[in-house]
């Protein structure tokens, strides 16, 4: 019965939360896939609709690298699910050939949580924009982080609302002239890295669409992290915020600073300091620690609760309650 299978997997997960990333990415298909014989998927198999994004939109590269990741890590169609909220970036699932869900604005994380907690056999990837993540979705982000749900979240940050045509976003820098701030934005923007670190996310990384290899690296590390792994990926909106990230792009005369070699990713204060650096700041993994996932915690509760009912059918367990109510 599937439920039992899930529980076993759950049990495996809870018992391996402290193992090395490579083994604990919670994806049976990689380790014990019976499909060993199947030949890995190629871009052709993974690409769906032709993306509608504007020519030059940074989102194209994120998509391309997601394809690469799936190819490289030999993930099968039925082992992955792609979830998004609403926004240009959130159109992501339509462009991927695989089970996908295009949910409502700002709530993709709780939706993905429902998948993560009931389907440990799946990779759960969530994609979305800065407005989706930090404006309407900001609270879900914090709570998903503190509970440490097993999934990977790629925030495609373009410092603007793209789909709705250029309004100020929580990440828009002060002075940015948008349709809702024609004189230039006046509100102190949020700092994504600070918010994630202080909220208790266990894997926090930063990258930019103009450095494909780095994006792929981050995606792999995130996927291998046993917990809630978040990547802020700068992804330029050529239509409404052209050149926003030039200062981080060597090809545009900017500088790409990787996180210093000697940075200790388990040091919260060091990570917080790194996050405080002015733009372009640093790129790479800011923070990464091991803390039991919500998935593992709940699996443990299950195992303990089920001890007393070993071998009983579900209806028999329920019967015990009813007997007490006679």
């Amino acid at each position: 019965m599937l439920r039992r299978r899930i529980d076993e997997t759950r049990f495996v997960m809870s018992s391996t939360t402290t193992e090395t990333p490579g083994r604990s990415n919670g994806n049976p298909s990689v380790a014990q896939s019976p499909d060993g014989g199947r030949k890995p998927l190629t871009k052709k198999d993974i690409a769906a609709d032709h993306p509608t994004w504007c020519p030059g939109c940074g989102d194209f590269s994120v998509l391309a690298l997601y394809f690469k990741l799936i190819e490289k890590r030999r993930i099968w169609h039925e082992k992955i699910t792609t979830v998004a909220g609403i926004g240009c970036s959130s159109r992501f699932p339509y462009f991927v050939q695989g089970h996908g869900a295009h949910y409502i604005h700002g709530r993709a994380l709780p939706f993905a949580t429902g998948i993560s907690l009931t389907r440990p056999d799946l990779h759960v990837f969530v994609f979305g924009g800065d407005g989706d993540a930090f404006s309407i979705g900001g609270n879900h982000l914090n709570h998903t982080a503190r509970k440490n749900l097993k999934m990977t979240y790629v925030i495609m940050d373009n410092w603007v609302y793209g789909l709705t045509k250029k309004q100020t976003s929580p990440t828009s820098p002060i002075g940015f002239k948008s349709k809702t701030d024609i004189w230039g934005s006046v509100d102190h923007p949020i700092n994504p890295m600070k918010q994630l670190i202080s909220a208790g996310a266990t894997f926090v990384a930063r990258t930019t669409h103009t450095n494909p290899n780095h994006v792929l690296q981050m995606m792999e590390a995130a996927m291998d992290h046993d917990g809630f792994s978040v990547i802020e990926c700068l992804s330029e909106c050529v239509e409404f915020y052209d050149g926003a990230f030039d200062a981080s792009n060597p090809r545009k005369g900017g500088t790409f600073n990787p996180v210093p070699e000697d940075h200790d990713v388990t040091d919260e204060f060091a990570a917080y300091k790194l996050a405080a650096e002015p733009f372009p700041g640093y790129f790479g993994v800011f923070y990464k620690i091991d803390r039991p996932t919500k998935n593992a915690n709940e699996a443990k509760i299950n195992t303990q609760s089920r001890e007393k009912f070993k071998g009983l059918k579900d209806w028999q367990i329920l019967q015990k309650n009813f007997d007490r109510m006679k």
Partner: protein
């Protein structure tokens, strides 16, 4: 405080007893107590002996852990007195709050003279700080409004259950929760709010035994989103709330309708609007349940009639959601939620279902196949391999058959029709509700939800008095079952009896639905908004007056 006579209707009870409310006080005039009211563990333990066999012990379930072995000797009724007092007045206002709440509770249980008690409270607390009195009255009304049901019923249920070993006793909230478990639900998410909280607390405690999980979320929007995500993952899941929390789920329910994602939403109705009256009963969420979404978003709405029906409705809701890929809202209310009833023990081995997802690979799949008969398509969970290599996206955007966005006029027309037609198909398959009493006559009392009991009693009494009255209970609120028009044709007067307001135009919420569909002016409303359950004689009088006035109108 004072002596008062118990209505002789209480069989076997003493005709007089002294109401002295206080921690662990015994409600009795004689040596042996008939009723023990225990606020704390120690009072429960110290005084239980003083209770006569078959007596009732009402204990504060927030503080007392009852002794299971006493079940056979006493009728033990747990009420979260502290919690309910706090929820009702925002604290316990010196333990006085709890005492007065309990007084209200007892007054309701034994059908004591409430106005008289209010006067007594006024005398007792009418000091210079009027707010103290207001607090006391609020506590009293909360207790009185707490629809625990009438102890006599409870007595009878418990007695009968003693006779045959085949009955179980539980509250409506428990019945709903256990029904969901029997139905195979293994994931749920929710945020606390009275009176919904009991259900989430029970599921949180019980689901792990079955390998399931219940998550307390940061808010109601996250809760329904998680439930939808788990449903998407392959197994119908549940969320629920009351009052304000239901309003917050509006947007996500709309997504479930558009994406055709099964999910069960429990609404334990309380007094509204807004924060309203958290501890009182009302049936005023029918409109939001049926019409509460932007755009055309048809969903299924069911309302259980009693505690046993809560158990069965939970199972039906899960199966409708799965079969028709649609959100199903269960409209319970504070009265059923907390009422304790006994009912025939269900055959769990037969009823319990395994609804684990099926991942057998398929050749191809269209999530929104327009060719599907009756517009009914089934959700295919992730994890399923699809031969064609074409995978579905579930979405809240208008979409083509594969779930990809489409703005084509024809597509929107067809998809709107698909979402409507599948519910029309469901309606055609629903049983026509049975009339209680003769299928033809002068007056038909139409009800839904927790009013079934009083309505049927009203019919019995009226017929006893020679009046031609029948009752019809509508469990399927949306879609309505077919064939109601034939039933209505058999009566001169149709009164829709509801615990909600008469509205701008003089009828209640179900009344509005029925009048709109059948355009029959003889369909009128009997409504009330005092936050209390219907009294039988209340219904009878109102019906009588309306018939009279109605005659004039016709």
């Amino acid at each position: 405080m004072t002596f008062m006579t118990i209505p002789s209707t209480i069989s076997g009870g003493p005709s007089v007893f002294q109401v002295r409310i206080g921690s662990g006080e015994v409600l009795s005039a004689g040596d042996e107590a008939d009723v023990l009211l225990a606020f704390y563990q120690h009072s429960y333990e110290n005084h239980l002996a003083a209770l006569k066999r078959g007596g009732i012990v009402v204990y504060d379930s927030d503080h007392v852990e009852p002794n299971q072995d006493c079940e056979k000797d006493y009728h033990q009724i747990g009420v979260p007195i502290s919690g309910l007092t706090i929820e009702a007045i925002g604290g316990t206002a010196r333990d006085k709050g709890k005492n007065i709440f309990a007084l209200g509770l007892v007054a309701k249980m034994f059908d004591l003279d409430a106005p008289k008690l209010e006067k007594l409270i006024a005398e007792r607390f009418g000091g210079k700080d009027e707010s103290v009195l207001q607090n006391a009255l609020n506590a009293f009304h909360a207790g009185y409004g707490h629809a625990l049901g009438n102890v006599i019923e409870t007595f009878q249920f418990v007695e009968s259950q003693k006779r045959s070993g085949h009955q179980v006793v539980m509250s409506g909230n428990e019945a709903l929760a256990y029904g969901l478990i029997a139905a195979g639900v293994r994931f749920g998410a929710g945020y606390p709010i009275t009176p919904w909280s009991d259900i989430m607390e029970l599921l949180r405690r019980e689901l792990p035994k079955y390998g399931g999980t219940f998550v307390q979320t940061e808010d109601e929007i996250a809760a329904i989103s998680m439930a939808l995500g788990a449903s998407y993952a392959g197994r119908v899941s549940v969320t629920g709330s009351s009052g304000p929390g239901i309003s917050l789920k509006t947007e996500a329910i709309g997504w479930g309708v558009m994406a055709e994602m099964p999910v069960v939403i429990i609404d334990v109705q309380r007094g509204g609007p807004s924060t309203g009256m958290p501890t009182n009963v009302e049936q005023s969420d029918l409109n939001i349940a049926v019409h509460g979404g932007h755009g055309d978003s048809p969903r299924v709405v069911l309302a259980p009639a009693n505690v046993e029906d809560c158990f069965l409705t939970a199972i039906e809701a899960v199966n409708i959601a799965r079969q028709y890929s649609v959100p199903v809202i269960i409209l319970s209310d504070q009265a059923i939620a907390t009422r304790i009833e006994a009912f025939e023990e269900p055959d769990l081995e037969k009823l319990c279902q395994d609804i684990s997802p099926d991942f057998t690979p398929v050749a191809e799949h269209k999530p929104y196949d327009l060719g599907a008969s009756g517009g009914v398509t089934r959700h295919l969970p992730p994890g399923t391999r699809i031969g064609s290599g074409k995978y579905p996206v579930v979405t809240g955007l208008e979409h083509d058959e594969m779930g990809h966005p489409s703005g084509a006029p024809k597509v929107h027309e067809q998809m709107v029709a698909k979402r409507r037609k599948k519910l029309q198909k469901l309606a055609a398959e629903l049983p026509v509700p049975a009339v209680y009493g003769p299928p033809e006559g002068n007056v038909l009392l139409v009800g839904w939800g927790s009013t079934q009991g009083p309505l049927r009693e009203a019919v019995d009494r009226a017929r006893g008095a020679g009046d031609s009255v029948s009752a019809l209970h509508i469990k399927h609120i949306s879609p309505l079952p077919n064939g109601l028009e034939d039933i209505f044709a058999g009566f001169n007067h149709i009164f829709v009896v509801e615990m909600n307001d008469e509205g701008l135009y003089g009828y209640g919420q179900l009344g509005g639905l029925l009048r709109a569909r059948f355009c029959d002016p003889k369909i009128r409303g009997i409504t009330k908004t005092d936050g209390l359950t219907f009294k039988v004689k209340e219904i009878m009088e109102r019906a009588r007056n309306n018939v009279a006035s109605g005659m004039r109108r016709l």
